[in-house]
């Protein structure tokens, strides 16, 4: 093959590549959707279902934590950011300085459940007790400090399972349970996803952890949570999250850059429709409005 032939074929190949690229761009709109691990299952279900609604729009969903989604929103690399906490003042300022204008949409509610091993005899935990277990100056390091004897946990040590510090679940639990100035204790096992927390607590009799209600399963126990010791406790469920009677219920957010327009607006409207909200309900979260699902 001489040089001219090689050059010619190169041009041909790159031309074909460009052609296919441009044709795929014109045919499909891709919405980048990233963030909260709590929301990722729902977001995926929405994206899958939306394919049947508008086949010209593809939604690319990925998880990684609320911090990931919000960072991507600030860096301008995502169309919709999912978050299980609201954006901090600092983050909004940073986003504005980079030319983004994040707008918050509440798409549902979640009960942040406190998970225990199924053999754990505890059935009620008050905020004060949770503070002793999770908080920096907390005095509960052994289950016997809470007056409990956990079968299978011979060392009696409380294994505190938390999340990585950019997680929205982490930030919300910190604010809601440990207080605005509160901080987590040293030596918590920081898991990289809600599912990892549940898996670890399920296998470890000494463990206690927290995650979204939707990650609960039959092999794990959810504690009933009381705002104050002595007061009646509330079990985490879709119903108690919906009416906000559960003390650590939290809104779930989607952030867009500026008021949503075009395909993104259509998608968000669809999420807030009965159909979208029923998918959220089916995944174990509380809808943002009253819906009737079949």
């Amino acid at each position: 093959m001489n040089k001219k032939q090689i050059l010619g074929s190169c041009i041909l190949i790159s031309g074909l590549g460009l052609l296919s690229l441009s044709s795929s761009v014109s045919a499909r709109t891709v919405i980048q959707n990233k963030g909260s691990d709590t929301l990722v299952n729902v977001a995926q279900a929405w994206a899958e279902e939306y394919r049947n609604v508008d086949k010209d729009v593809a939604i690319a969903v990925s998880g990684g934590g609320s911090g990931t989604g919000i960072a991507a929103m600030i860096n301008g690399t995502v169309d919709i950011a999912n978050a299980s906490r609201s954006m901090k003042g600092k983050e909004i300022k940073l986003a504005k300085s980079k030319g983004q204008n994040p707008i918050q949409h509440i798409v549902g509610y979640d009960a942040l459940s406190v998970f225990l091993h199924k053999d754990n005899p505890s059935d009620t935990l008050s905020f004060a007790q949770l503070k002793e277990i999770f908080g920096r100056d907390g005095k509960a390091v052994k289950w016997s400090d809470l007056g409990l004897k956990v079968p299978g946990c011979k060392q009696d040590k409380i294994v505190v399972v938390s999340r990585q510090n950019n997680s929205g679940t982490y930030a919300f639990f910190k604010k809601a349970v440990l207080g605005k100035k509160g901080k987590f204790r040293q030596g918590t096992l920081d898991m990289h996803g809600s599912k990892d927390v549940v898996d670890l607590v399920e296998k470890t009799p000494c463990a206690i952890g927290y995650s979204g209600l939707a990650y609960a399963n039959d092999h794990i126990k959810m504690s009933c949570v009381a705002q104050e010791a002595g007061k009646p406790c509330v079990n985490p469920s879709v119903a108690t999250a919906s009416d906000r009677s559960y003390p650590i219920a939290r809104p779930l957010f989607m952030y867009t850059n500026g008021e949503p327009k075009g395909e993104i607006k259509k998608y968000l409207d669809w999420i807030m429709s009965d159909k979208g909200q029923c998918i959220l309900l089916k995944k174990g979260y509380a809808p943002a409005k009253d819906v009737k699902c079949d």
Binding site: I74, K183, Q186
Partner: protein, 310 residues
């Protein structure tokens, strides 16, 4: 005269051999030169990049007593972020230390056996296998730590969680051992045979030859091998991320979970806003790690070079 000049020009043209091959030769020379200096360009480039990204924090928010004196790592707190790296440094140091306790006897033993005792086929097989062991990806090691070592440690030692200094130390020790073995073996091979022959002529036993003659003679090379192993341990990320339990904590025993400096960058960097303080702090950890591994590798290199020049 004029005639002669023109003819010499003709001769020049005649002898000018600048055909395709000549240009090709030049091109290859240039490509090889660029590849040759690329390592320098990349190292300098990476160092400049890491420093520029992390500089903002080092110049403004940096407080020596906080970063190296506090164990509280809470970089995402809105009102009061804390950047104490003491626990992270303790985590990295404890895991690397334990790894070396495991890897040094293993790798020196293996190197002595391969270099001094084994012969023929056994030796060839061993060398290939050691190199194969060095080629196992670190995420596979991490996976072994997570799914095999974790339940094993829980059962054997009756502890609540098996992701700990012990787990990561063993994994990291096994990871560093093959490289240390190869380098240590080279160092032992570099000891001239006349040393061994002289010792044997004096009536020394096999062990005495190794212990009294070969090991002291190869001392620098062996030290270099160990230091390279330490550097490997310090910089390892994936396996450590998976096997330590990822818990900010100054360990009191080998069964405590810890978190390493490298794992912190890996876990948090993708999720911070570019240019934020948290982002800059992670880059300053990068500078710190870069400096430490650079010093360790440089020392190892100087020591190894030292024996060659003797």
């Amino acid at each position: 005269m004029a005639k002669l000049e023109s003819s010499s020009k003709q001769m020049d043209d005649l002898f000018d051999q600048r055909n395709m091959d000549w240009y090709f030769d030049k091109l290859v020379q240039m490509i090889v030169f660029i590849s040759g200096i690329s390592a320098i360009i990349f190292v300098v480039g990476i160092f400049v990049f890491v420093t520029v990204e992390g500089m903002g924090f080092l110049l403004e928010g940096f407080s020596f007593t906080e970063v190296f004196g506090s164990e509280y790592w809470e970089p995402s707190d809105e009102d009061d972020p804390e950047y104490g790296m003491l626990a992270l440094i303790a985590g990295t140091a404890s895991v690397t230390g334990l790894a070396m306790l495991i890897a040094i006897p293993f790798s020196l033993g293996a190197a002595i056996y391969i270099a001094e005792f084994s012969t023929g086929k056994t030796r060839e097989y061993l060398k290939v296998l050691v190199e194969l062991l060095a080629a196992i990806p670190s995420v596979v090691w991490g996976f072994i730590g997570l799914s095999i070592m974790n339940p094993l440690i829980i059962e054997t030692f009756d502890v609540p969680v098996g992701l700990s200094v012990l787990n990561a130390g063993i994994i990291l020790g096994l990871m560093a051992a093959p490289i240390m073995t190869s380098i240590a073996e080279d160092a032992l091979k570099a000891v001239p045979d006349r040393y061994r022959e002289a010792a044997e002529a004096l009536g020394a036993t096999r062990w005495q030859v190794i212990y009294k003659t070969v090991l002291p003679a190869a001392k620098n090379g062996l030290l270099g091998a160990i230091l390279l192993g330490v550097g490997r341990g310090f910089g390892e990320t994936m396996a450590v991320l998976m096997a330590t339990g990822h818990s900010v904590n100054i360990p009191g025993s080998v069964f405590d979970s810890v978190r390493a400096l490298t794992a912190t960058i890996a876990a948090e960097l993708g999720e911070t806003a570019v240019g934020s303080e948290h982002y800059q702090v992670l880059f300053s950890i990068g500078i710190f790690l870069f400096l430490i591994t650079f010093i360790i590798n440089l020392t190892a290199d100087l020591i190894v070079r030292g024996i060659k020049n003797q």
